[in-house]
């Protein structure tokens, strides 16, 4: 990977990390309400895979969606405003943290019913196939989501109809407080794809380059007419499932061990070892990210809440 791209990915991952930390602070101050699911620890997944897509490709994910929104390039100010439920947010303040979307960038959200958006991904892919384009859909979901009927019906249909979907399981080892071994009969998640004759592979989700390469390869296979593909990306969420998680289901030692594989730390060590940039240069990137987030938070805080009338708009396109 060239130096500039590597540094840009570092910047994107730091932007997600710091966005999440700032969000956590704003939540504790009561400025963000509702649910808040942090992506800290999983940054390399969104950054590695979304940077491997073509401009024509679509993105859709679950409620742990801030990292994806930031990486597709949506405006950081508008994303932060949505987190605070403000009218200037990407979804006019009606969606909140779990429902960030940017349809112009082919980013279809943020969806909060576990597994449901896999069916939407199948439909978005069907539309591309129907129109005869070479666009694919990158559909992200958790390990826990692989147990709901939606997952199985969507994978099966994608296989039967040869839909251009890249199924991306972000296996962060837990669905809320339930470890994979306690929630999935199949011991490897990837194995589930083989039940539908969908080629699958496992990827180190702490290494942004590995995620990038695997995604590139899978998308090429889809465009080569080999049908839907499946990636199981092994990762870990460093924080709780959402705010207020008592964290009773895992040990401090386990978290510590995974934190040694911090995806940003791994990339930073690589950058320094390969002399792609020095410490000063990385600090300058961090400072620029901070300035961008200062601006985003200030914008969000200064923005108005949606007007009362907004409760009754956007219900139907054609009221009658």
């Amino acid at each position: 990977m060239d130096k500039e791209t590597t540094l840009d990915w570092y910047r994107q991952m730091v932007l997600i990390r710091r966005f999440e930390q700032r969000s956590s602070e704003l939540y504790q101050l009561g400025k963000i309400g509702g649910f808040l699911h942090l992506y800290i620890g999983q940054e390399a997944v969104a950054v590695g895979s979304i940077n491997a897509r073509g401009e024509q490709d679509h993105i859709i994910t679950a409620y742990r969606d801030h990292g994806h929104a930031l990486t597709v390039g949506s405006d950081t100010k508008q994303i932060m405003a949505e987190m605070l439920g403000k009218s200037t947010g990407v979804s006019k303040g009606k969606g909140g943290s779990m429902h960030l979307a940017d349809v112009e960038r082919r980013y279809w959200g943020g969806h909060a019913v576990v597994g449901a958006h896999l069916t939407l991904a199948a439909g978005i892919a069907l539309a591309e196939q129907y129109k005869g384009t070479d666009a694919a859909v990158l559909c992200y979901f958790g390990d826990g989501a692989t147990n709901i009927g939606y997952f199985h019906e969507s994978l099966n249909l994608s296989g039967v109809w040869d839909l251009p979907v890249l199924w991306i399981c972000e296996n962060n080892q837990y669905g809320m407080g339930t470890a994979v071994a306690r929630h999935s009969s199949a011991s490897s998640i990837m194995q589930k794809a083989s039940g539908y004759d969908i080629p699958a592979s496992q990827v180190d989700g702490m290494n942004v380059f590995a995620v990038y390469e695997a995604t590139k390869k899978a998308l090429a296979a889809i465009r080569n007419g080999e049908g839907p593909q499946f990636l199981e990306i092994l990762t870990y969420r460093f924080e709780g499932h959402s705010m207020g998680d008592p964290l009773r289901y895992r040990t401090k030692e386990e978290v510590k061990k995974w934190r040694e594989d911090d995806p940003i730390g791994i990339l930073e060590r690589h950058i320094l070892a390969e002399k792609i940039a020095n410490k000063d240069k990385l600090e300058a990137i961090d400072t620029a990210v901070e300035a961008k987030l200062d601006e985003a938070v200030a914008f969000a805080e200064a923005s108005p809440l949606p007007a009362m009338e907004e409760l009754f708009t956007d219900i139907f396109v054609e009221e009658n």
């Binding site: 979804s91 979307a101 349809v103 439909g123 939606y150 956007d314 139907f316 009658n320």
Partner: protein, 270 residues
Amino acid sequence: MAQITMRQAITDALREEMYRDERVFIMGEEVGVWGGTYAVTRGFYDEFGPRRVRDTPISEMVIGGAAVGAAMNGLRPIAEFMTINFAFVAFDAIVNHAAKMHYMFGGQMRVPLVLRAPGGGGRQLGATHSHTPDVIFAHFPGLKVVSPATPYDAKGLLKAAIRTDDPVLFIEHATLYQVRGEVPEGDFVVPIGVSDVKREGTDVTIVAYAQGLQVALAAADKLDKEGIAAEVVDLRTLRPLDMAPVLKSFQKTFKAVVVEEGHRSYGVGA
């Protein structure tokens, strides 16, 4: 004017819209090779091919959800549930996804989708296959719910449903498929969300829709022989509900009877 069955009227609307708009396609269980469980799409598979008439696996959750996704991304799907009873399996796709995408993302997404489902009881199919859950679906803002009573309305309303940019649940009472009525040749639309006075009268207002209209009209005939002039209002659409003709009639008659097929509590009459 030609007398055709409600089944034929629905078939005609589907075929004409498929020719009018390339984005329109049909998906569902047994809609293709089989020709539709209620024979509504008989011949379509040969006429339009497997790209536009798509047999699905028995997977209601993804039939509902993938139709929503395809609609979001520029197509105009007509997804068929074999019967409304199986739409319960897709309840989340319908009320949480079809109905909420436009609102929850601040108007960024549109879901121009028609979900067709034969419904209703009275055919000795047992408790799980005899529901009339129309009002349950009509409860949710964001989803239009239409259920016609005559071949004319069925054709015009289905065309309107296919053309609107909103998701529509189109419920066809299965006992009405053989009912005949006058339907003009060619293109016409009946607007969604407009109730219709099917018979004028001065003494009592009978409010009905779908199969209930048959009951209401039969009752009105009977009342007529006893010297009572009943006015019959057909709702046609449960959401958005047009109460104006009902209230206007009530101001004239001061008496109203609601005919519906569902359970006693929490129905349309409520």
